[in-house]
């Protein structure tokens, strides 16, 4: 069983990590002076912007995510029950759509500024207005799209904290703020850090929104370099990617450290639900405002704009889009998310079985795809799949005598492979976090009661992790629905998804028409997100 676990992890992790690895493999090739050129001209800017963006997004998602999670978990105020799940809604909106929406609304030539100029008869230079297409714009947009990860992690952690530790804190004279700062936050810190790590990886990989905001980061730089019509483009892009991955490795290591220090298991003792703190008067309404702000900015306003644009000048192919592309999107996301959960479960369980540094390293490598820009990862998938295909072809030809076409390239298999490579980290992280909360003595109990490791997985871990698995499933699902670059590059003939359609219209600079597709993306992601918020609320409670 042990060697089986190691073998299983080795094979799966190798397959999943292969696309990133092959891209990196071209680091050593000659870049025709392109690399030196990049280093001496644009690289310092990439580093500066990437660091600033990551720091800004981390800070802002922390602010949004932790404060709202604390408020809806322990306080009672108007709208709390609605906001509790509504706070997850921005997950349904990809950052690039938010960017489209806000640039459209707030740019100099956009309706808001035009209106202001008309009303106050200002002209250019008379007034200050925040720039959406700027570094700070990108920070805000990404934070609005990504804070739900932190919110989710923080909320789960707060819910899990037993009421007694907070009650004890109160008998020791701490008020709500003191309880938060000195008890709840320190206890939740590892989970929150894991959420922020997820956010940071997304931030590092984000291309669409960042590009739209006219900020040059590693991700946009890599894609820009790759898209040069130039034989050295791939090599130079790989070299940039390698540099980015160094940062990611540091992140992964830090995150693993944090997770390890977070190994406090649920106690078997009794647990009580936290009783909510009723807020009064101005404080209550302030809490409502704090929690409503990210929902309004991150979901309501962009959605409303897309609805407005769709009504005004929607996509002529809207009906077709909702049916066929919606179906394609749904099916792809469905398979990809189920696969990601099954693989994630397998890997996470294998690690629980055989927690050696070697296995942990492989798992870490397998999760790396999450922080690589989708376009780069897609190239890696392309290379790996084509390589396999050519070997397969040779094999078939030597056996049957006639060549076949490509069996994997340009099929849904390649695309699904790309999704796994990119999003397995999400399900894996979730499931591993869930597993660490299951006391190891339960494994022992099941084994001494005659359950094989497999049976233990299905009779103890899977049922205990039901909520976690569902959450992982939904997160991957929503991520796939929003995914663009890999889909664009790897999909089979004729397979159009919603995000592809939106890209086509947006790259033709037809934003108002793209609004229909944007709305469809939001709709497809919305239901799962609502289920997710329900799961986050329930799982913790039922798990005791």
């Amino acid at each position: 069983m042990r060697s089986f676990s190691t073998g299983f992890v080795l094979v799966i992790a190798a397959i999943i990590a292969a696309p990133v690895a092959v891209v990196l493999a071209s680091i050593g090739s000659d870049s025709g002076g392109l690399w030196q050129h990049l280093v001496s001209t644009v690289l310092p800017g990439y580093v500066r912007n990437t660091v600033a963006l990551a720091a800004g997004v981390a800070a802002l998602t922390l602010l949004f995510g932790v404060s709202t999670a604390w408020l809806v978990t322990v306080c009672r105020f108007p709208g709390r029950n609605l906001l509790r799940w509504a706070l997850l809604l921005p997950l349904a909106i990809p950052a690039y759509l938010g960017a489209y929406a806000y640039t459209d609304l707030l740019q100099f030539a956009g309706p808001v500024q035009t209106w202001l100029r008309e009303v106050f008869s200002w002209s250019r230079g008379d007034y200050w207005f925040p720039q959406v297409r700027s570094l700070s714009g990108a920070i805000v947009l990404l934070s609005l799209a990504l804070y739900p990860y932190v919110y989710m992690a923080a909320r789960a952690a707060f819910l899990e904290q037993s009421a007694s530790s907070l009650e004890a804190a109160r008998t020791l004279g701490l008020g709500p703020w003191g309880c938060f700062k000195r008890v709840a936050l320190p206890l939740a810190r590892p989970s929150i850090a894991a959420g922020v790590a997820l956010v940071l990886m997304e931030t590092l990989a984000e291309f669409g929104a960042v590009q739209y905001c006219a900020v040059d980061t590693f991700a946009t730089g890599i894609v820009r370099t790759f898209t040069l019509p130039n034989q050295y483009a791939l090599t130079a892009a790989a070299q940039l990617s390698a540099l980015l991955l160094v940062v990611v490795v540091v992140l992964v290591v830090v995150e693993t450290r944090l997770r390890k220090s977070a190994r406090f298991f649920e106690t078997s003792g009794r647990r009580r639900q936290l009783r909510a703190w009723p807020l009064k008067g101005g404080n209550a309404w302030l809490a409502t405002a704090v929690c409503a702000l990210p929902v309004a900015l991150g979901f309501v306003i962009p959605t409303a704009l897309f609805v407005h644009l769709t009504i005004k000048a929607g996509d002529a192919r809207a009906r077709e889009m909702f049916l066929e592309m919606g179906r394609n999107t749904f099916v792809l996301a469905g398979i990809a998310s189920v696969l990601a959960v099954l693989l994630g479960l397998g890997l996470a369980f294998a690690v629980r079985f055989r927690d050696t540094p070697w296995v942990r390293f492989l798992i870490g490598v397998a999760g790396m795809g999450y922080a690589v820009p989708g376009a780069v990862l897609a190239i890696g998938v392309l290379i790996v799949v084509a390589w396999t295909d050519h070997r397969l072809r040779g094999l078939v030809q030597s056996v049957v005598g006639t060549p076949t076409g490509l069996l994997l390239s340009g099929t849904a298999v390649a695309l699904l492979y790309g999704y796994q490579s990119r999003f397995l980290a999400v399900s894996l992280n979730f499931i591993r976090a869930g597993l660490t909360r299951i006391e190891p003595s339960l494994d022992g109990a099941a084994r001494t009661l005659g359950a094989t490791p497999m049976m233990t997985l299905f009779r103890v871990h899977v049922p205990m992790l039901r909520g976690t698995l569902l959450a992982a499933l939904i997160l991957v699902f929503v991520d796939v629905v929003k995914e663009l670059p890999a889909t664009l590059m790897l999909r089979p003939f004729g397979l159009e998804t919603l995000s592809v359609r939106v890209y086509q219209l947006a790259s033709d600079e037809r934003l108002s028409e793209a609004s229909s597709g944007a709305l469809a993306i939001i709709l497809v992601g919305l239901l799962p997100v609502i289920v997710l918020s329900w799961v986050v609320d329930r799982s913790v409670i039922s798990k005791s």
Partner: protein, 358 residues
């Protein structure tokens, strides 16, 4: 009781598996996927990788199928991704035709050995020699000019007649142009290098960057809108974007009403023109269909549709242009070979990076 408790997890798994199976079945039964591999089965198809992403294309492909009975399997994507895919799929690629939207990309595909030469009397007769590859590697389909627009109330058109003028210090803080990551700008820069030499071109580039009204951002339409809104006075954009704005909703028309167009360098080399073109992919299984397809794209229905609906300049002379294009007027094109523009791409990028054109 224990079995009862075990049911939900078993059920959960069952549902997962069922979902997987259904979904795979659904995929396997996808008619499009079957078409793509059914080329030998008697039905004629052509498999197209296209970097174009305009709705008019779909209509033209449908007309092609109706006229010839050949089914078009289409994969639209960004040109770099498609090109990489072609490169990796090698001779086994299902693609028969690759369509790119930029001369640099066509050149790169040729260098990478993606295309195979094809001869067609129809094509050589229709398309002017400078708009197709001499050995028939690729054929132009449409042209677009990258030209200058200006705020009529703020700029004297006589002061602004060439690309070189964009770098003139008198326009400091007035010029709007998109990012150097955009291939149209890279090609424009490539043409400047050909015209001025690298040193002079770099100086021009510095002057242009110094004249920018803001950090490059957005697309071509955003530059036009920016001028109309007073963010700058001069914008560089492709003709079809401007023409589509002019034919758009009232607020877009209002933008264009404020703008005048300058076709630069009419007294010397002419305005920079880029090309969208198609070629037959090496080892294409449906070569005959592929050539018929490209012929159709240069035929009367398609060329007219490109010109009127998509507001591009047809490669085949003599078709009626969209009224917006007619309003822009006629102009002299830069006759610079597109292969040279492609070759200049790396230098162009380096110059732009050195000048700080983001």
């Amino acid at each position: 009781m224990s079995r009862f408790r075990a049911v939900p997890s078993a059920l959960f798994l069952l549902v997962l598996c069922a979902l997987l199976v259904t979904v795979f079945a659904a995929c396997a039964g996808d008619p499009v996927a079957e078409d793509a591999v059914a080329d030998d089965a008697g039905e004629s198809v052509v498999n197209v990788y296209s970097a174009r992403h305009y709705d008019v294309d779909a209509a033209i492909y449908a007309e092609f199928t109706e006229a010839t009975g050949i089914t078009v399997n289409l994969l639209e994507g960004d040109s770099a991704g498609l090109l990489e895919r072609l490169r990796r799929e090698e001779a086994a690629s299902p693609a028969d035709v690759f369509i790119a939207v930029d001369a640099g990309r066509l050149h790169q595909a040729e260098v990478d050995g993606i295309f195979e030469p094809s001869t067609s009397d129809v094509l050589s007769e229709r398309i002017p020699a400078n708009l197709r590859h001499p050995e028939g590697m690729w054929f132009g389909i449409t042209k677009r000019a990258r030209v200058i627009f200006y705020a009529k109330d703020r700029i004297d058109a006589n002061q602004l007649t060439s690309y070189e003028d964009l770098a003139d210090p008198k326009f400091r803080g007035k010029v709007l142009i998109r990012s150097s990551s955009n291939i149209y700008n890279q090609s424009l820069m490539g043409s400047m290098i050909s015209a001025l030499g690298e040193e002079q071109a770099e100086e021009w580039c510095r002057g242009l960057v110094a004249n920018l009204a803001r950090e490059p951002q957005g697309g071509d339409r955003d530059q036009l809108r920016g001028v109309a809104a007073g963010e700058g006075d001069i914008a560089v954009a492709n003709t079809y974007y401007a023409a589509k704005l002019a034919a758009g909703p009232p607020e877009d028309q209002a933008v264009m009403d404020q703008l005048g167009v300058v076709f630069p360098n009419q007294d010397d080399r002419g305005s920079h023109v880029n090309l969208s073109g198609a070629g037959v992919v090496r080892g294409a299984a449906n070569k005959a269909e592929a050539i018929r397809f490209i012929e159709f794209l240069t035929g009367p229905e398609a060329q007219a549709a490109f010109a009127t609906s998509n507001k591009e300049y047809p490669v085949v002379p003599g078709y009626e242009l969209a009224p917006e294009l007619v309003a822009f007027g006629e102009f002299k094109e830069d006759a610079l070979g597109l292969a040279e523009v492609g070759q200049n791409n790396q230098n162009a990028l380096m110059v732009m990076d050195r000048c700080g054109w983001r």
